[in-house]
Symmetry: C2
Subunit: 440 residues, 2 copies
């Protein structure tokens, strides 16, 4: 925890240094100059968010931590500057505009689109029974444990909140584990293949669970009908869109490649992304389910036009600008004063412990003899992006209040912080074991 | 006009084909499904805008017309679908949300940033006296002529409107002329160098005039003080930012290149763009002035990090997605029913004629003996993007009403349509003349 504190301090100082300028800009000038453009406040908010994201991200990368943690914590610094500065600096409603929320929404869609682009359907079908059973255990166990721990410690929050917290604990973050495995040059081990396969299946299961849980909360009751309807819709949506997509996408790609207008490739990709997200919303699923499906389908499209860059190269600049807006905004929405209540800290720690234990049972699902159950279990711990997305949806639905939201963000931060060192340790232990068995 | 009508028809039919689906989506489903994401309507509007932009753009490119005209006319089709369909299809307030306006604003900033990136300060300083005098004549004459023609035919519109229409006629569109010259392989002729140099200076002068005119309108009176203040501020802003920028940008570039976080280059570029736009707004200039200055400065920065793509490659995907939003939205805002009043058609034609004549006097500025005055004059006709931006600002300030806005858009369309054939004709004529004088 020492490192985290130091960095919080450094970030605070850096941010505090730019704040006087920004505060000046925000008050003096905007009241002074008569003809301020109506989008000026949005641009100012974007400047602060991007600056915070990059300062935070850079500092965390420097200490070999994922940049996303830096973005989240910078956001927490900005969102609680009023608290830290004793009420001197106040961004007020700056980050609560329709436009900023829309840009964050765009960011999370681009993120899921990218995750979809990076997952290959055909490879996914090959990862086999181990990944599937690891994924299913990794979703079911934390869901149940999360639900019951909430029933135990916050019975007053009600069924919907209990269910939603459970759902938040299901999702595994592919990015962080993949990054560590890559850094250790262990991407080709059986454990790595199982973990990464399971993480992708986890994403899909997680999105389906999100749809089901949201459906239950909106319809107001756990009817078998709602659960069955949402499950079938979600599965059908993903299945049908993948089947049709795999057939139609190459045709569209070919057609688009013949067009003259510049930028057809990226515009087609985004039209596709937006359309899938909108269709998902229409049939009552989360827009990100559609965004993920869009990425999954486009993954296999080969646009014939080789003059333009690869689709992932074209998406990256949009990713770099908009995805951090989502994470910083998530951080901003954490109200640190909720932690003055020791109960909230207890909840945060309790769901962190539950989410770690829940994923350890994943090892049972490993069917491959030469793969370490421990490494797989640890590799599944980090929650990251998807957990935050869930928490955001829950907040939007009014199920998750400020305290629970804060507790979930802390859980995401803690699980993400402990995964890399634990993973390194478990792999080293496993290597030693294998080494020993060889010399025997 | 035959071609335009045909294409309007084709676009209408294409758009009408997608509209039933969209209308269904817009009414049935959104009322039916309980939990629609709040950003779903924005995404739907984006789908329609991008689809319209690309269908319109593609059709116009196919007949060798600039894509921007297609975007504008598609927008007009969408905006007047209610009229065309006899009230059956109605998008209602869909395109009037804060978010869509913000995205269009982002688009126009990215556009000016890109224009700045493409203009090189050092080259600009070398183009010499011909370009400068051509540019100044091309700004002053249409401004005066535009002002007086309005005083003559619409005296009731008042001083502010007269002045603003005059200002709208000043700006030359670099893109269209450059495209034609490139297609004819004439980019290295003295005429081409003079025209392109003048067009860039025109952009700068145009932005300064926009600031002055806006300043006059907001302060409510033509005081010498306002004009002097705004002129000095504008010049000083551009001058100081360029001087400081040229010194500081390489240092920032070097610093940024050493950073670990991915996408630092594009994020730094956008942070710089947003900051300059915000600073311009703070001192009372238009945000696009800042965006242009940002592009002008970054043009000379060589980021040391060669691992990432060139800055223009990184900006392009963002350009392709957001810039069309601006042009389609401009088209949507043209209410075609204003043309039921023959007076508005008369105004549109009058300002078109004035804007063509005004630029012909530019030839006087040509100091280079072997350059054709006619070619230069014709090359300066097309108004394009910047004229539209002016009209948009005027509409925002409440100076330009729906009828005048429609007339200006028609002027932009007509000047842009006639430039390519006239330019081809005048260059061929000039080539024949040079050929004849050689054989004599």
């Amino acid at each position: 925890m020492k490192i985290k504190k130091e960095f919080l301090a450094v970030i605070s100082i850096l941010l505090l240094a730019v704040v006087p300028i920004i505060s000046f800009a925000n008050t003096e000038a905007m009241q002074g100059a008569g003809h301020s453009d109506p989008i000026a406040p949005v641009i100012l908010a974007l400047i602060i968010i991007l600056l915070a994201a990059k300062i935070g991200g850079e500092l965390f990368e420097k200490i070999n931590q994922p940049a996303v943690l830096g973005e989240l914590i910078s956001g927490m610094v900005i969102g609680n500057l009023f608290l830290f500065s004793g009420g001197i600096f106040d961004f007020g409603q700056m980050f609560e505009s329709e436009s900023i929320n829309m840009l964050a929404g765009l960011g999370v869609m681009i993120l899921l689109f990218q995750v979809g682009l990076e997952s290959n359907i055909k490879e996914l079908m090959r990862v086999g029974i181990s990944s599937l059973s690891v994924a299913i255990i990794g979703v079911v166990v934390p869901l149940i444990l999360g639900y019951y721990i909430c029933v135990l410690i916050i019975p007053e929050a009600g069924f919907n909140a209990h269910l939603f917290v459970g759902a938040t604990l299901t999702a595994t973050s592919v990015g962080i584990t993949a990054r560590v495995l890559k850094d250790l040059d262990k991407l080709r081990t059986p454990e790595a293949k199982i973990i990464l396969g399971a993480a992708v299946i986890d994403d899909i299961l997680g999105l389906i669970i999100l749809s089901i849980v949201s459906g239950i909360i909106i319809s107001g009751s756990v009817s078998v009908g709602t659960v069955v309807y949402t499950s079938i819709t979600s599965f059908a949506f993903l299945f049908i869109s993948i089947i049709i997509g795999l057939k139609a996408a190459p045709l569209i790609g070919k057609k688009v490649s013949g067009m003259k207008v510049e930028g057809m490739k990226i515009v087609t990709a985004f039209l596709f992304l937006f359309t899938m997200a909108y269709l998902a919303d229409m049939i009552g699923l989360a827009m990100i389910v559609g965004a993920f499906a869009a990425g999954l389908i486009l993954d296999d499209v080969s646009f014939v036009n080789k003059k333009e860059h690869h689709i992932e190269v074209l998406v990256k600049p949009l990713y770099c600008i908009f995805v951090p807006v989502f994470f910083v905004l998530m951080g901003i929405q954490v109200k640190l004063d909720v932690f003055l209540d020791p109960k909230i800290i207890a909840i945060a720690l309790a769901i962190t412990v539950v989410s770690v234990i829940g994923k350890q049972l994943c090892g049972i699902g490993v069917r491959c003899k030469n793969a370490s159950k421990l490494v797989v279990g640890i590799g599944m711990i980090s929650r990251g992006e998807v957990g935050l997305i869930f928490a955001g949806v829950g907040k939007g639905l009014g199920v998750i209040d400020d305290s629970l939201f804060g507790a979930i963000v802390i859980m995401v931060i803690l699980t993400t912080l402990i995964t890399p060192p634990l993973l390194k340790w478990s792999i080293a232990r496993n290597d030693r074991k294998l080494g020993l068995s060889k010399t025997e």
